[in-house]
């Protein structure tokens, strides 16, 4: 089986093995469960880091192919569905991000109760889907892993969530599945127009892009299907409403993984499938979605200003930030798209950090309403400082990831030759002020000022596992913020084919 000689497949195998290991553990043996989980997560991080190194070596060695580590094994002969693997810079950094967040998530859910075993089972099933999505270049397997990643959310929220969890879980699942319904139709349509010679249909997106055979009228029909399908997961206005409720009800680690990684699947798929395969329709219809995403940037930021639930605030800020991702992708130039990927990284890490901290604060104060808290900086300085750092990252402080990402997006978008896009970019830039407003509002109310509730004085600061979980993310955020060129060099070249495809139809 040459498939097993490919490093990528182990990104799926490791979580599956972890699942098996967890299945073997006793329900009560919490230590064994934790041990297995940590081992799996660590192995993933190690592999991801090794993948980055390998990728850089390959590129340095002059491997200029669009995707490296390509392997393709026939799976469904009659339909020409293959198990095709391959990564380019974007997927590499996405895998790295996912690995980090899974790692942090395991530690963030250290004291998970009840049913820790089942929790980690679903948790790793979800990450299996995520990694599988990023490593595969075959539409069918991509879609399969995509849904594998979606469905565990239902039980993770439903069983371990809080608040109005039944409603939120069902709403989230149904809306995302609705998105994937669009997606499935789009993929089937792409499949049947993937080639000009009938009977040679293929699901491999590299081949599809190479054939470039999708008729224009079909593109106009399939592009919205796929883009909306992924856009729902990318929290694109007006399909974002699952996100506030879902995040508010989800347990900490799940919010981390969902906002940190799962929402990235949306942005990733948008350009990897929708734009890359259907450049013509992208050029034609791009402005519609550009408008929507532009709305969601400002809209999300404004709605975040008046929320009082910490998780709602972050959910809406996620809407704003993820809107920026799609916004940049729709600018169709490599700089803006690079910025989009940086924004995915940055948003993934910092939102995960946010949700981790919120979870820890909630675990202590048992409230998420900022009106009932205050002056926590006096009581839990570690968490407080962490929150401030996350806030600075979110409002784009130089030296942290947010600034780099947003600036790349703005500069790249403003390079667009069309005035409409440039004006839109300026409209989008206003979000940096609004972001500052709501972030500082929360920090001021939550951490500064006098202690609101005297019972809070008895609370403790973060313990070891929580420190590990948050420190991982903070360091990652700082690294991206201080050495962006390292990541940009990995990412940028990956967009050359997409941009070429886009310019060729102009």
């Amino acid at each position: 089986m040459e498939i097993f000689s490919n490093m990528l497949i182990y990104f799926v195998i490791i979580p599956v093995l972890t699942l098996a290991g967890l299945a073997l553990t006793k329900n009560k043996g919490i230590d064994a469960i934790r041990a297995v989980a940590v081992t799996g997560a660590t192995a993933l991080v190690g592999l991801a880091v090794y993948l980055v190194v390998y990728f850089l070596h390959a590129r340095a060695a002059g491997d200029t192919s669009d995707m490296i580590l390509q392997t393709s094994v026939m799976w469904y002969e009659p339909l020409n569905i293959k198990l095709a693997l391959g990564v380019d810079g974007v997927s590499v950094v996405m895998i790295l991000l996912s690995a980090f967040i899974v790692f942090a998530g395991v530690f963030a859910s250290w004291k998970m109760d009840p049913l820790p075993k089942q929790f980690f089972l679903w948790f790793f099933l979800l990450s299996t889907g995520v990694f599988g999505f990023f490593i595969s270049v075959d539409l069918f397997t991509m879609f399969m892993f995509y849904e594998v990643a979606l469905i565990p959310m239902y039980l993770l929220i439903g069983v371990w969530g809080s608040g109005n969890k039944n409603y939120s879980a069902m709403k989230l699942t149904l809306m995302l599945m609705g998105g994937s319904a669009f997606l499935m139709l789009g993929i089937i349509g792409i499949y049947f127009h993937s080639t000009s010679t009938p009977g040679e249909y293929t699901m491999n997106l590299l081949d599809i892009a190479k054939n470039n055979a999708i008729p224009h009228n079909w593109q106009m029909f399939l592009f919205p299907m796929t883009f909306v399908g992924f856009g729902v997961l990318g929290a694109m206005f007006p399909f974002h409403t699952w996100s506030p409720d879902g995040h508010a009800s989800a347990p900490t680690a799940v919010s981390m993984l969902h906002a940190g990684v799962l929402m990235k699947l949306g942005g990733y798929g948008c350009f990897r499938i929708a734009i890359y395969l259907m450049p013509f329709a992208a050029q034609q219809l791009g402005w519609i979605f550009l408008t929507l995403t532009g709305i969601s940037i400002v809209y999300g930021a404004f709605s975040a200003c008046v929320q009082t639930d910490l998780k709602y605030i972050n959910a809406y800020s996620s809407v704003s930030h993820c809107g920026m991702v799609l916004f940049a992708i729709l600018m169709f130039n490599s700089t803006a798209m690079t910025g989009a990927v940086l924004q995915m990284l940055s948003h993934g890490l910092m939102t995960a950090l946010f949700f981790a901290l919120i979870g820890m604060i909630y675990g202590r104060t048992h409230t998420r309403d900022i009106r009932e808290m205050g002056g926590l900086m006096h009581i839990m300085p570690y968490l407080g400082v962490g929150y401030v750092i996350a806030g600075f990252a979110s409002l784009g402080l130089p030296g942290l990831s947010g600034f780099v990402a947003e600036m790349t997006i703005f500069v790249g978008s403003f390079e667009h030759t069309d005035m409409f896009h440039r004006v839109f970019t300026i409209a989008a830039t206003t979000s940096i002020v609004i972001t500052a407003v709501y972030i500082l509002r929360v920090v001021g109310k939550l951490l500064y000022g006098a202690v609101q509730d005297e019972h809070h004085r008895s609370l403790t600061d973060a313990d070891a596992t929580e420190r590990i979980s948050t420190a991982t993310l903070i360091i990652a955020v700082a690294i991206i913020g201080c050495f962006p060129n390292f990541f940009i060099n990995i990412i940028r070249d990956s967009f050359t084919p997409v941009v070429q495809a886009l310019t060729s139809v102009m």
């Binding site: 809209y299 008046v306 929320q307 390079e415 830039t429 500064y448 000022g449």
Partner: protein, 660 residues
């Protein structure tokens, strides 16, 4: 000392920040303070060495036939938006103004570091809570400010604009436990952030047309032959004005935010909630002149865009007057000093702006006099305003209040402070031979060259300056006898606090004789300046009048001020309430942004959009409820549906197939 080693001037404070921030919290407070001071001392010495090397050394590329060149010491590619063009570099650019700023920043910063050892401790000398954080933040600010002035490209400048904004946020909010500090820090950050937004937009536009961020590439190697991309972009217009005018105006707004130009000044008075040394460092000497520095840095471009220049001119002149008028009535000494700061920075802005008319520099052989004067005033003002603030700090530390009603007649109790403060007042009032006299004189000359109106206006403001400064002075140190509360009477502070006062006082006395025209000019060439006696005499006269008025009203306790206050009640209250600018901002932020935009959007999101998706679910449910009668449980009903269905199927199909 090679200029390339300037990087260490930045590296030391950065290291200090990380060290004190991460490790320091575990160390005893006193130690961290001392470490911070020592680190800053090294930085200062190093900075002096650099400045000396630049001004008086003759390394290769520094001097080119009598014209000082810009030297790029280091340039590290930090973030490359495109592989070839639009690269953000972090580097060090040494030219007259940045070298001067190095001196200013390091000097004041060192003084403040030293001073804070005493100020941030109680009377028994025990440092207060958060001492380490305080020094870490100070180091962070110093690093950011130094990085700002040595920027090699406009984007690096933007980055450090953000950095100084954040460090100022942290320092203003040092006492985060208290609501006022909390609000003030938030306000400062958001207002400056708003300005930075415009700065960013300006950068975007500029870089879009010039395809570069680098100062040297835009303005030429020696800083005054502008690249063609820019000049050709001047032709393009957007909504009537040339795109470059838009860009430069936006960039100026960015600077105006930091430099507290009207109407973006409102954050500065509140910023006084921070510890007083912080006010001295950030909100008097260094950060607030960042805007001026920005405009000065891009001076050659502004010269080409008269429109932008005029805007700056008007804004500056108005701000100078406005702030001076407000300062005349403030009872909180720090606020009063803050407004005087605003006024003085406006002086600098104006003098930059007046030095050109319709695209050319004014003043024949004294071309660029305004530029030189502005930088000169920046230098001197930093010194004496820091001095004044530190004195105020000493006083506040002694009487535990900012209100001058709590002070009065402190002269006997704290003579050193009193003298130092007096020197500061004389300097700012422009009395020879103190520093302020020379710089302000040059500014006025430049204004008169632009036009007599500008000159008169600024002279009037200069007079007001003298008046309100001495008003403060008298109200603090004389007016009436100080009644002592509590056990110990106020006295001069420990040496850590008095030494900086003395040093700065000396500098304020002598700084005026510095040969600025030879050192700091817009194109690096030497500039022959000579006293313009009529203007100088006139300005001194006006200053004396102002002082005289102040003496008449505030030297000894008398009812005159209250009489005047009641006579011009409306005016007085308006000025006391800073002409209601804060209320206006309150209205905009709360009533408009929160109530009228955010709330409705949030409602819309929950009700309309979310409601729509819930509606889908409800419709499905009600539909399933509606059709349940079909399943009546009665077989006859079943077969009726059956037969009807079958027949319909046949009929409809038949019609469709046979007719179409």
């Amino acid at each position: 000392m090679p200029l390339s080693s300037t990087i260490y001037v930045l590296a030391i404070p950065l290291f200090m920040f990380l060290f004190l921030g991460l490790v320091g919290v575990k160390m005893p407070r006193k130690i961290t303070g001392v470490i911070g001071v020592l680190g800053m001392a090294v930085t200062t010495v190093w900075a002096y060495a650099i400045a000396f090397t630049y001004f008086f050394g003759n390394g290769e590329g520094q001097m080119l036939d009598g014209v000082r060149q810009q030297v790029v010491a280091t340039d590290w590619t930090w973030l490359s938006f495109y592989a070839d063009k639009l690269v953000v570099k972090l580097g060090v650019l040494i030219d007259p103004i940045s070298a001067m700023m190095l001196v200013v920043i390091s000097t004041v910063s060192f003084m403040v570091h030293l001073y804070s050892l005493g100020y941030m401790s109680d009377h028994d000398g025990n440092p207060e809570k958060g001492f380490q954080r305080y020094y870490a933040d100070l180091a962070l600010f110093t690093f950011s400010m130094l990085g700002l002035v040595v920027s090699t490209n406009i984007f690096q400048m933007f980055i450090f604009f953000e950095m100084v904004g954040v460090s100022s946020y942290l320092l203003i909010g040092f006492y985060y436990g208290q609501q006022p500090a909390n609000h003030a820090s938030k306000k400062a950050f958001i207002v400056t952030r708003l300005a930075d937004l415009f700065f960013l937009i300006g950068i975007l536009i500029l870089s879009f047309y010039t395809k570069t961020f680098d100062f040297k590439e835009i303005m030429g190697a020696n800083g005054h032959d502008v690249c063609n991309a820019f000049t050709s972009a001047q032709g393009l217009t957007f909504m009537g004005c040339s795109v470059t005018a838009w860009a430069l105006t936006f960039i100026f707004i960015g600077g105006a935010g930091k430099s507290a130009m009207y109407p973006l000044h409102i954050w500065l008075p509140d910023a006084m909630e921070g510890p007083t040394p912080v006010s001295a460092l950030i909100h008097a000497a260094t950060m607030v002149v960042a805007g001026v520095f920005l405009v000065a840095r891009m001076f050659p471009l502004y010269v080409l865009e008269q429109g932008a220049m005029d805007i700056i001119c008007v804004v500056g002149a108005f701000t100078a007057f406005y702030a001076a008028a407000v300062a005349c009535t403030q009872s909180d000494i720090k606020r009063a000093l803050a407004f005087s700061t605003i006024s003085q920075i406006a002086f600098m802005m104006t003098s930059l702006a007046v030095s050109s008319a319709n695209g050319k520099l004014l003043g024949g052989h004294e071309a660029g006099l305004g530029y030189m004067a502005s930088m000169f005033h920046l230098f001197t003002h930093a010194m004496f305003k820091a001095l004044l603030f530190l004195c105020a700090g000493a006083i506040i530390h002694a009487v535990h209040s900012n209100e001058n009603s709590k002070m009065h007649g402190l002269h006997k109790f704290m003579p050193i402070t009193s003298i130092a403060f007096l020197i500061g007042c004389l300097a700012i009032a422009g009395i020879p031979p103190f520093a302020g006299f020379f710089s302000k004189d040059e500014i006025l000359v430049a204004c008169y060259e632009k036009g007599i109106g500008w000159g008169l206006w600024m002279s009037m403001v200069a007079g007001m300056t003298a008046f309100y400064m001495f008003r403060i002075y008298y109200l603090i140190f004389f007016w009436k006898k100080h009644e002592v509360h509590g056990e110990h009477a106020p006295k001069d502070q420990p040496w850590t606090m008095t030494v900086p006062l003395i040093v700065l006082a000396i500098i304020s006395c002598v700084a005026g004789f510095a040969p600025f025209g030879k050192l700091v000019t817009w194109d690096g060439a030497q500039l022959e300046t000579h006293m313009n006696w009529p203007i100088a005499g006139a300005s001194v006269g006006i200053a004396l009048i102002g002082i005289g008025l102040a003496t008449m009203m505030y030297w000894k306790e008398n009812p005159l001020p209250d009489k005047l206050a009641t006579m011009f009640k409306g005016l007085w209250t308006a000025s006391y309430k800073r002409f209601y600018m804060d209320e206006l901002y309150q209205f905009i932020t709360h009533k408009i942004i929160f109530q009228s935009i955010s709330k409705p959007i949030a409602w819309f999101d929950r009700t309309i959009i979310d409601g729509f998706f819930n509606l889908l679910g409800n419709v499905t449910n009600s539909a399933s409820f509606g059709i349940r009668k079909m399943q009546s449980g009665n077989v006859q009903g079943y077969v009726s549906y059956y037969i009807i269905g079958a027949v319909l199927l046949a009929a409809v199909t038949g019609v469709v197939i046979l007719c179409f």
